[in-house]
């Protein structure tokens, strides 16, 4: 036995020195200036996204230790006002692997750079639907769900709960408008519609007078089953809950929400990822952290399985049937071959617990139930992946 062990050991090390593989990844954070919100209760962490990448990196490095594969990361921050393309060009010159935390239009511009051709770029910050549709790029993958995946998830909940009489309040920021548009499309997709819609146009300080203003503002909706809020910057929504004229559930950006990730997810081994993340970064893991973690782990998973850092081989493997990522969501995560979107279950949560996980039981699909969320192959006009 002892001799056998020694022989195996010698063999493995002789093999591995020859085959050592190192994956260099760049992480680029382009500052997105955000308008002020009414409440300062939940500041956005400075290292949002980066913390997820670092946790994924550590996971990869641990695995790599046993396979003589190394993982290195360089992080770059571009403040508002500086040209992100200059930074992106420099990074792409060092490695074809780039994880982005940037606005949708910056991501498109980076993916279109001559230096980015043949690169593998991950969008971890934008739910913009057009990036998965007509504006898709064949070098741009998406680990954050599209807005449509999240609004489809909620629409399934409405159908299941028979909340068919729905009203919506929409904020004025572009993200709110985009979310509201995604929600309207989802409602149509699942045979629902809106009985009423209003725009949130207050500029008062709701912390003081929400209890007076919100009942009046919501009174003329009449009766309904549930109220949807399109408030993606979390500006006014938190003051609507429990202040509506009718006592009805609030859903959408606040209340019952569809999210990529949340600290309340503990099933499917998620408790381990949560505690690993919290221990390292001293805060809970957000959706954007999860998307960034998933991008880094995607790269780790393909390098583990293929033992190469050739971008064409890795891209092919990611889009093949062989790829699967264990993402603590109860089923394997894979990529849609028509637009590079990471297929994943969507959590339906309130701040204290997981309520459901979409796709909900009964929403069937001819190929994969997960494709009942977001742009399915016949719906997407993305051609870059063909």
């Amino acid at each position: 036995m002892h001799r056998l062990v020694a022989v195996v050991f010698a063999l493995c090390c002789a093999m591995s020195t020859a085959a050592e593989v190192t994956l260099n990844t760049n992480y680029l954070h382009v500052e997105i200036p955000l308008p002020p919100t009414l409440s300062n209760l939940d500041p956005i962490p400075d290292n949002i996204g980066l913390a997820g990448v670092l946790t994924g990196l550590k996971d990869n490095q641990t695995t790599g230790r046993f396979l003589d594969q190394k993982y290195e990361l360089t992080e770059t921050y571009v403040p508002g006002g500086e040209d992100p393309l200059v930074a992106a060009k420099a990074l792409l010159a060092t490695s074809p692997y780039l994880i982005l935390n940037a606005p949708a239009e910056v991501q498109m511009a980076i993916a279109d750079l001559p230096e980015a051709q043949g690169a593998l770029i991950f969008n971890t910050s934008s739910g913009n639907i057009s990036l998965r549709d007509g504006e898709c790029r064949n070098n741009l993958f998406h680990t954050l769900p599209s807005d449509a995946m999240r609004t489809d998830a909620l629409a399934q909940v409405f159908v299941k709960k028979r909340w068919t009489d729905l009203v919506m309040i929409t904020g004025t920021h572009p993200q709110d408008v985009a979310y509201a548009q995604a929600m309207r499309q989802s409602l149509t997709k699942f045979g629902l519609d809106l009985a009423g819609e209003k725009e949130w146009a207050f500029d008062a300080d709701m912390r003081r007078n929400a209890s007076q203003e919100v009942p009046l503002f919501t009174q003329d909706f009449g009766d309904y089953d549930a109220m949807i809020l399109a408030d993606e910057l979390h500006d006014f929504g938190r003051y609507v809950l429990y202040n509506t004229w009718e006592a009805r559930p609030v859903t959408g950006s606040e209340g019952l929400s569809a999210v990529t990730w949340s600290p309340v997810i503990e099933q499917w081994g998620a408790a381990q990822l949560q505690s690993r993340f919290e221990k390292a970064h001293e805060r809970p893991m957000t959706s954007q952290d999860y998307a960034a973690w998933a991008a880094m782990r995607t790269l780790g998973e393909v390098v583990t399985r293929t033992n190469t850092v050739d971008p064409t081989t890795l891209r092919d493997y990611i889009l093949s049937d062989a790829f699967e990522l264990a993402g603590f969501k109860g089923r394997p995560l894979t990529y849609r071959t028509w637009n590079g979107q990471l297929r994943q279950p969507i959590a339906i949560v309130h701040p204290r617990a997981l309520v459901a996980q979409a796709p909900l039981d009964g929403f069937l699909h001819q190929v994969n139930e997960l494709d009942s969320l977001g742009l399915d192959q016949p719906e997407s006009t993305c051609e870059a992946f063909q």
Partner: protein, 319 residues
């Protein structure tokens, strides 16, 4: 149905008396089920989040992984009294007792470490760096090899128990959860929850010998997730818990073919047999019960309500 159950019961009564001990992960208790009456006869309190559970070779001591108490607890199974804690490293999830009846190999899920504890001196003998989220633990019948599987690194780590060092690391499909050796030691099996497969290794060469997939009618393949498994008498078959598909598969251990699927409770996790291996007891986490399977008939014959989120199961004879 009732008649066959009774017959099976009578048979068990006369031949073998025993108990199945089940850890209830979210109740901080163990439930004790009589293998004769198929009823819960006792419930004892444990540390926080009990998961892995195993008896000493003479069944005089019960070891429990109290994950959130960061300890392995040693219980007197005759009184339910916790005798003492063993140092276990952080977050012990699952463990295996070496054939020497003395050393516990413990997976420390949060720390990517396998801890080896001497149960007599109550000291940590070794800590071995393994992959992220170690869980599945096995030891070869001759005691020379211990296995740790790591859920996020997707590997089986082979430990030489003499040097307490890794001598091989073999990749498996996503989220390996459980490992077992055949009784003759020739093969080592690993289940992959997210990959949906069982991988079979040749112990001598650590080479992959076969891979088994599952297909449950009416359940999407993504939700067919193999977790715990055990071999029948003579190692002819393996009974494999398939997690959220709520089925147990019966695998022929010679042809590697899946012969049957048995419907059990929700999110079936681990299992153990009664003494003559005629009955199998599976823990069903989500439904909070234990399903009793008649092994010969391959039928579920009873559900027994236990605590919240039953996790591990271990048998001890009482006659």
């Amino acid at each position: 149905m009732i008649r066959t159950t009774l017959a099976a019961l009578l048979l068990t009564t006369t031949a073998h008396a025993g108990e199945i001990w089940v850890t209830n992960e979210k109740d901080d208790t163990v439930s004790v089920i009589s293998t004769e009456t198929l009823e819960v006869i006792k419930t004892y309190e444990t540390g926080e989040r009990p998961r892995g559970i195993t008896f000493s070779k003479d069944f005089s001591l019960l070891y429990i992984c109290a994950s959130d108490s960061n300890a392995v607890q040693v219980m007197d199974p005759n009184s339910g009294e916790i005798l003492h804690d063993l140092p276990s490293g952080e977050d012990p999830e699952q463990f295996v007792l070496h054939p020497d009846d003395r050393h516990l190999y413990i997976a420390n899920e949060d720390d990517a470490i396998t801890t080896v504890v001497d149960t007599e001196t109550r000291k940590v003998v070794a800590q071995i760096d393994v992959g992220i989220e170690p869980e599945g633990m096995a030891v070869s019948p001759d005691g020379k090899i211990a296995i740790t599987t790591s859920e996020t690194t997707n590997m089986a780590h082979w430990i030489d128990t003499e040097t307490q060092e890794l001598f091989a690391n073999t990749l498996v499909d996503s989220r390996p959860r459980h490992a077992e050796f055949l009784r003759d030691g020739s093969e080592m099996w690993v289940s992959s929850e997210i990959g949906g497969t069982l991988t079979i290794f040749d112990t001598a060469t650590q080479a992959e010998k076969a891979k088994i997939s599952f297909e449950v009618q009416g359940v999407h393949p993504d939700r067919v997730q193999p977790v715990g498994f055990e071999f029948t008498d003579g190692d002819t078959h393996a009974f494999v818990a398939l997690g959220p598909s709520n089925h147990v598969a019966v695998v022929n251990a010679e042809t590697y073919e899946v012969e049957d699927y048995i419907l059990v409770g929700r999110r079936v996790w681990h299992m153990d047999f009664n003494e003559d291996r005629s009955l199998l007891f599976t823990t069903n986490g989500v439904s909070g019960d234990v399903t009793v399977i008649d092994v010969a008939k391959r039928e579920a014959i009873k559900s027994i309500k236990v605590g919240r989120f039953p996790w591990g199961a271990a048998f001890r004879p009482t006659n």
